[in-house]
């Protein structure tokens, strides 16, 4: 017994050391982005790495902001392209000109938030129906949804693109948002959460004369709140990271997201590492901050969804 506990203590210490080394390795890329953003290009381009910046410079951010400009925001007329023969979008309001990087950030936030809100609403409703409503065709719909979950988006890329240009959505952020909402993972997750609602409560609400919609908003919603929270963060991060859809659907500087913007910068100026790191820092710091604020709900949420699944 004693020998074993000595061995298990040794094992624990060794594994702790390995964990700490791994933790350093996993944080290193982020550290390298942030310090790289504040190092001069001579320092970044030397074969001898500078582990801690000797002097902090902001040249990279200045260069990034000077790169190009775009209106800070633009609000388009819905379906405006149908109103003129050139199929141009019609701008209703445009913000003041600003460095394009800020516009990209605004675009990315708008895109991810819109996808998040629409997904949460549609998935919560559908998940509740699949879990608690005994309608005809329910099993078939659910298996269709589970099958579609494994399907990579690249498979349907071309039809989606043609559809979007048919709807005149190609090149707008909605072309990224709608397919994200259509992705059925959220429905699956919300179904798992809704399964936990006791049928008696719903029955009681019905007997009390509550309408279906009322039951959903006042009884069901509060009970699946943790699930909605997890789904919200999950969709936000997924949509933000979905470089592929952004690459295919967005066509011009003004509608780029921050990820697309940096990817374009990389293609154009792959030698200016500082500039790229400044862009990467702008893209990653906001989302990491959001994650750290909500990480408790997030980790709880994804774990709960899976355990029930």
């Amino acid at each position: 017994m004693k020998i074993q506990s000595g061995r298990s203590r040794a094992y624990r210490i060794v594994s702790l050391i390995i964990l700490i080394i791994l933790a350093f390795l996993f944080t290193f890329p982020l550290y390298w982005i942030i310090t790289g953003a504040f190092k001069s290009s001579a320092v970044n381009n030397s074969p001898q790495p500078t582990w801690w910046p000797t002097e902090w410079v902001t040249d990279n951010f200045k260069a990034l902001f000077k790169q190009r400009t775009a209106p800070l925001w633009e609000i388009f007329m819905p379906f405006g392209s149908f109103t003129n023969p050139e199929k141009n979008r019609v701008v209703l309001f445009a913000g003041p000109d600003a460095p394009a990087a800020f516009r990209w950030l605004i675009n990315a936030v708008f895109m991810a938030v819109a996808a998040m809100v629409i997904t949460c609403v549609t998935a919560a409703m559908a998940g509740y129906a699949l879990a608690k409503k005994r309608f005809n065709g329910r099993a078939l719909l659910f298996s269709l949804i589970v099958c579609a979950m494994a399907l990579p988006k690249q498979v349907i890329l071309i039809p989606l693109l043609k559809e979007m240009s048919g709807l005149r959505l190609y090149g707008s952020l909605w072309a990224v948002i709608f397919p994200t909402v259509g992705w059925p993972f959220g429905v699956f997750l919300m179904k798992q959460f809704s399964e936990g609602i006791p049928g008696e409560i719903l029955e009681a609400a019905r007997i009390d004369g509550s309408s279906e919609w009322n039951t959903f908003t006042t009884v069901v919603m509060p009970m699946i709140k943790p699930g909605i929270g997890a789904l919200a963060i999950f969709t936000f991060i997924n949509c933000w990271n979905d470089y592929f859809m952004q690459l295919v659907m967005l066509d011009a500087n003004n509608v780029y997201t921050i990820s697309m913007g940096i990817a374009t910068l990389q293609a154009e100026t792959s030698t200016d590492i500082g500039l790229l790191m400044a862009g990467a820092a702008m893209a990653s710091v906001p989302i990491i901050t959001i994650f750290l604020i909500f990480q408790k709900y997030f980790t709880q949420g994804i774990a709960m969804g899976a355990v029930k699944g």
């Binding site: 996993f26 979950m149 399907l151 890329l157 039809p159 989606l160 279906e212 990653s284 994804i302």
Partner: protein, 306 residues
Amino acid sequence: MAKQSKQPMSRALQRRENIAGYLFMLPCLIFFIGFVVIPMIICILTSLTDTNMHDPGLIGGSFIGLDNFVRLWGDKDFLAALKNTFVIVIVSVPTVCAFSLWVSSAIYKMKGPVLSAFRCIFYLPVVTGSVAVTVVWAWMYNNYYGIFNYVLKGLGLIEGRINWLGDERFALGCIILILFTTSVGQPIVLYVSALGNVDTTLIEAAQVDGATEMQVFWKVKWAQMMPTTLYILVITTINSFQCFALIQLLTKGGAGTDTVMYRIYWTAFKLTEQAGHFGYANAMGVVLAIFIGLLSAVQFKLAKEK
């Protein structure tokens, strides 16, 4: 109560459930059918035609039967891409699962703040964002001013500089390494909570019966975590198949890193002799979807048998 619910519902009640059910499903179905199901059907239909970029309409081109698939079978580049895709999946899925299982079992008993610190750290590469991660790794792998060459040379492990992303021997491995760091975050979160939920009475019973720690782990905890493992296998497989940003931004499919994902994109949009050959690209998509379907089915089956 329970007896009643097993009886068939009255017709009026069934109609009510149908109406309510479909009304609740409606917003979701609009998006799901519009942007997943219909494109999938079009994808299958166009894979049977010779459509290209310039054909108008959703399908276009003329029907050529299974010609695209026959051509794929003899297309060396496609087969190489298929092989690479499978190498990525076969290497990354087991390593991600084993690694995250080990990390989780090492951290799940730690105190709250330490545990969540570790969890966050392993999740960082996911939230940093695929493009930002790729950009910084490109720099680290760089031939001249990357830290990989500097550190490995300093340690005496390599002699000359290695062009990591340009060398066929290393490029795919380098991509798998990045993919690995961005894939372990979610499995770790899942395993930590699964380990925390293992029924402690079973563990105690096993310990009373004289089971060693290893036995307790594999016979009790591992068995109870099977649903989590299955879920992790499926999401990691899907993730590995979808790795696109890494390849598009790092190698553009060169140096033996072409994958089916990248090839679909390349066949459809890049200026080559086959540019805009949508029918052919869609055929690749269909083949890939079939493979993924089969793989998921096998995984489910294996997990169920256990």
